[in-house]
Symmetry: C2
Subunit: 237 residues, 2 copies
């Protein structure tokens, strides 16, 4: 928690914030071992970042004097990430990684090799997803939550949504064995598609290439989804 992310509810008035949820209060007490008078980095959900001073901290509440919140959050990555739905534990970690790295548009996609049971996981509830996104923001000192959409069918995604997404973005399909090595340091708006463990099936690859995506690879090593996504984002942007 490198930033205390304030929701509008936490802000009492321009100069005072009260944090009352047990997770953050406990973190301030037990991990930060914060003390009255400490200066800390604060941010407003969807807004600016700045400093504040801890006025009080007890078991139920932390109060902050807000100094300024006028810095912009760090820039977003120019990417819409389309990720085959990972298994629940990996989803949780991947949501935190990609949020910390600056992804702001994320689509979780069903593909042939995604186990159908993953779509029933409690990790997909809006509250759980938001909790992981928030951890990613707090880590990276960001304030802007990513938009997460669920695409429960591959074919409807490709037919109804992909053309529009690709109209304004370069489409990159990350898949082992594709002809081009992942490009470095591109700055253009990008749609990045990453398959599940086991990969996209051949028919899916063909459909995505036919829709206008370029196939890219990360070399001969097969990486876990969470490692591959971080490596792709770090190399591309």
């Amino acid at each position: 928690m490198n930033l205390i992310l304030l929701s509008p509810d936490d802000i009492e008035h321009d100069h005072l914030a009260r944090v009352r949820d047990p997770r953050r209060v406990t973190h301030l007490r037990e991990v930060h071992r914060a003390r009255v008078g400490d200066a800390m980095t604060l941010g407003v959900a969807g807004g600016g970042i700045g400093r504040g001073e801890l006025l009080s901290l007890d078991a139920d509440e932390a109060r902050f004097a807000i100094d300024t919140l006028d810095q912009a959050p760090p820039p977003a990555l120019p990417v819409h990430l389309v990720l085959a739905l990972p298994r629940p534990r990996m989803l949780a970690r991947t949501l935190e990684h990609v949020t910390a790295l600056g992804v702001k548009q994320l689509t979780l996609l069903h593909t042939r090799r995604v186990e159908k049971s993953y779509w029933q996981s409690p990790e997909l509830s809006p509250a759980k997803i938001q909790a992981h996104l928030t951890l990613g923001l707090e880590q990276a000192r960001d304030t802007v939550l990513p938009d997460v959409t669920l695409a429960r069918g591959f074919r409807p995604f490709v037919e109804d949504h992909l053309p529009e997404l690709l109209a304004a973005r370069r489409g990159l399909l990350a898949h082992p064995g594709m002809p081009i090595s992942c490009p470095r340091g591109i700055d253009a708006p990008t749609l990045l598609l990453v398959g599940p463990e086991g990969g996209f099936i051949e028919w899916e690859v063909e459909r995505l290439l036919a829709a206008g995506c370029e196939g890219i690879h990360l070399g001969p090593r097969i990486l876990r989804v969470e490692t591959a996504v971080t490596a792709l984002l770090a190399r591309l942007f």
Copy 2:
């Protein structure tokens, strides 16, 4: 487990391997749902990679007919990674990530902000470390275990080992606020130093820069160690 990594003990003779440890046998049965006759990727620890056929699989043993094991494992990264010892759970995941990415030299370093208790963790036993490295190799279809050394003192590391390590390598110190953005696609032998959560302290940064390291950063976002290490390796190589 994208590769069945055979130890010399597993190899009965040139054409027959027996895998008897419960972890791999269970994985073959329950995750791969392997069947007699399946062709699978095999590799010999420290050696070549090839194909084999599953001859039998029961609760205690899998037997493989070895076809060929004459392919080279994927190339290593030209990096010696020096990582401030992470907390035990993050260490476990980071060992897997960096092994999968192709790191072959790893030093775990004590720094001021590493909690001393981490050095007592059972995760640091040679058997535990090897288990995580093996998972990384199996993931990435590699056969060559990384060398892991423990450097329990910062000053002895800097005074006694760093000069020699830097004699043949470009030293890069990854630390927030350093002047140069992390370079992309370098091919030269590199020593990459990554600090703990909370970072190196200023005195440590000064010592590492004075020893000849260049300070690099990954931008304004503060990343978890495991995310930062993957991002650095993917961008550098």
